[in-house]
Symmetry: C2
């Protein structure tokens, strides 16, 4: 790099850092460092730019919250990301890895030698290690497990047994338990002996001698009840409980409806095995919402914005291939009517309008049905209510917009027969679209598939192919034939 | 209704209720009623069907959680929904209204006389009333406000001053405050005097004599510290604080990153005015995620699945109209090449493939860019990194898929020149799509618009019109011309 290039590089890196730091400030990150003074920002930027301040910069990083370090890393291009990562202390790296978005975490792990990964993960709790394991290479997992003591290794193995998407995989195993035959005062003294209590901490779990959950004792009840009363009298019996194998998506609804901070998790023998925190549920909601948006366009892998070009290009192939296939089939429908088009070339210009309006209205139905199914507002017996309603809407809109389109066609070509065919085809395609819009997601779900992934491409295929078929078929029959 | 019709009606209503009750059970709703016994379910269904059991049914409803009643109401078709609503006690209706989805709440409010709405809302806290107000007719709001005592009315008015989407509009005003010059023991005694503490309750706020927030005292610190120590020594100073006018979307990131249960909210004078609970933030996330999916297909109003047909049909007009307009413009691009198509009719069959593959790949870019902007991973200085990368991906995929498409065209028509044009047009449209996929959402955001609403329709317009133009233009120049 010559001097000019280097300066340019520094200027752009500096600009990126300044912007990220402004974000940090806006989001109240790094509060301790009082980034609100502009001088603090400049310092941090300068420190990263000038290597002689590496020590000072490392000290700042050491005081940042792991989630804040993750926030910065996610926003840096690959080279700068690795540069910053090298400055994070080994014992804090595990915490940062937990907070990172999947794609970014993968990019860092891919660049770390096995020894460093093991060092980073060793400092974590067993449930946290289990959370990281799916991102790690096979042999690193083996090395990591053998570096743990037997008890920890056993716990990690237990956690790994819970499949992704279950409550067991999301739960925390750190919790405080008491027996029901003591008085509140004893519980208070027991809690006071703790150096540090779990965070967040809103309830103590009451178990019997076999570890079976018998009740919960909310912190606020501990505070408002007479210290001489026995736990058994104050605790809530039969609390809302999850099983380790419950799907996490069920927990989402329950947490939202009852505004729970945490809930006990039991195993198949009713033994208390963990606690599900709202934070884990909230992360799950956010991840679901994000992946839903990407799934709609066929992106199933979380894509790091700064990932290598070839990785990203390959990530998009299945969807491109599928779309190409359906487009070629729809193209064959048109191919079958080439003679008709030859005679009446206006058809070629008008046919995409029929297909497009069908696809757009059908995708509205798909979005409503997928949401209705996710919220379980659509149950088998109300499916027909929805179908009838969507058909009625399509009829109303078909008559209205079919007429508008017919008028537009009349304006362009001044051929009443062509206009009529256009109007009928639009109305028919709207009806087809509404039926397909309900049945495609329902059928995918029945088949055990995720309706978000695929509904839209299938729907567009149906509305394209059928739109071309109805329009060109009618034209062949009524005008040209 | 004749006997047969009535029986049919009862059978379908019964089926709907049984399914909803199964859902209730699956989601651990109505636990107190031990719906796990099938007999309990049958009872509830029978009670709703046979009017003579109305009293028993009403008693069951009285014991259900408001969120559970809302859950059932959301899943019932309009008539049954109103029937059930009539059985809910007046003083519980307010609580249920708060829990309902917007569209369903509107349907009930539309059916209630003003007097009933006021009765239902009167039993709520002032922040809850403020939450309902936007759903109520103007004159009902006036009647409701005049039914409150002056202090309450003032509080509601204050809450209403916070615009939707700000922290002030989401916060709760019920909280416990103490002064910093007392000892922990005094705080514990003060708390013990409360019959009921706010729920959830994880911290006590410490204020000075002017009500200015000086710190927070976490419940767990109250429990683990020596009761003789003064609050000033135990409290956390400079806690993470929100202002009433902060955007709620900022709070989402902060709550997720730091796993907060609640955070204090201050006004412009640093006076403590409320508390923001994770539950409100969680609701906000869910609502955003849902509305995002619907916005992508141009549905801005929350649509009740069982709303009247005409309302729903009208709800979809703006999007249909916009799509029709863009489709007609794209159709005019084709119209300009009618002479070319007349000479080489295969162009008509192939042109939708060029448009479709561009639209699909562009929508992938749009989804990634919108997500990147929402997570603020894309800042101004990294925008060019993203553009360069998307262009590189389009180049790779354009060469690859352009060749595949060219081969397919060769297979269909055995005209090398046509294949070449097809391959070049696909590659060109992928490049156009990637540029448009980045710049359309960025431009919409720059213009202060929501990129989710409109990006996709604009992108499809560009890829359709440009796809037709490039393909037909090249064909006119290289083959036909």
């Amino acid at each position: 790099m010559d001097q000019q290039q280097r300066e340019q590089y520094h200027r752009s890196l500096e600009a990126t850092l300044v912007e990220i730091l402004e974000l940090l400030e806006k989001h109240r990150l790094e509060r301790e460092l009082s980034l609100r003074q502009a001088s603090g920002q400049r310092e941090l930027v300068d420190a990263l730019l000038a290597r002689q301040h590496k020590g000072e910069f490392q000290r700042r990083l050491a005081r940042m919250h792991p989630a804040d370090i993750a926030f910065v890393l996610e926003r840096l291009p690959t080279d700068e990301r690795l540069e910053l990562w090298a400055l994070v202390d080994a014992e804090r790296r595990g915490g940062v890895l937990l907070e990172l978005a999947d794609g970014v975490r993968d990019s860092l792990i891919a660049a770390m030698p096995q020894r460093e990964i093991v060092d980073a993960a060793e400092h974590l709790e067993s449930d946290e290690i289990a959370y990281l394991v799916p991102s790690l290479p096979q042999d690193t997992v083996a090395a990591l497990l053998s570096s743990l003591d037997q008890r920890e290794r056993h716990k990690v193995r237990e956690m790994l047994a819970f499949p992704e998407g279950t409550v067991g995989a999301l739960m925390d195993i750190e919790m405080v338990t008491v027996r029901d035959d003591v008085v509140i005062e004893v519980v208070l003294r027991y809690l006071r002996r703790h150096e540090e209590l779990p965070d967040p901490f809103d309830q103590v779990f009451v178990v019997d001698r076999d570890g079976v959950l018998v009740g919960i004792l909310r912190l606020k009840d501990l505070l408002t009840h007479d210290p001489d009363r026995p736990v058994a009298e104050v605790m809530l019996r039969e609390p809302l409980t999850f099983s380790t194998h419950d799907p996490a998506s069920d927990a989402v609804g329950v947490f939202e409806r009852y505004d729970l901070v945490s809930a006990p998790v039991v195993n198949l023998h009713q033994r208390l095995t963990g606690v599900l925190h709202f934070a884990a549920v909230m992360d799950f909601i956010s991840e679901q919402a994000e992946s839903q948006q990407l799934k709609q366009v066929g992106l199933t892998e979380d894509e790091d914005l700064f990932a290598p070009v070839m990785d990203s290009a390959r990530n998009r192939w299945p969807w491109l291939g599928l779309n190409l296939l359906t487009a070629l089939v729809a193209s064959r429908v048109i191919g079958a009517f080439e003679a008709t088009i030859q005679q009446q070339v206006a058809l070629a210009a008008l046919m995409p309008v029929v297909a497009s309006i069908g696809g757009n209205t059908g995708n509205q139905t798909v979005a409503l049905v997928i949401r209705g199914m996710a919220l379980e507002q659509i149950v088998a017996s109300s499916l027909w209510v929805v179908v009838r309603k969507e058909l009625a809407i399509a009829l109303v809109n078909g008559l209205l917009w079919g007429s508008v389109v017919a008028l537009a066609a009349l304006l362009f070509y001044r051929q009443p027969a062509l206009s009529l065919v256009m109007g009928i085809a639009v109305a028919a395609n709207l009806l087809i679209a509404s039926l397909a819009g309900v049945f495609i997601p329902v059928a995918l779900k029945q088949a055990g598939r995720d309706p978000v992934l695929g509904s839209s491409v299938l729907l567009t295929f149906v509305t394209d192919a059928m739109g071309f078929l109805v329009f060109l078929g009618l034209a062949a029959w009524l005008i040209v034939g």
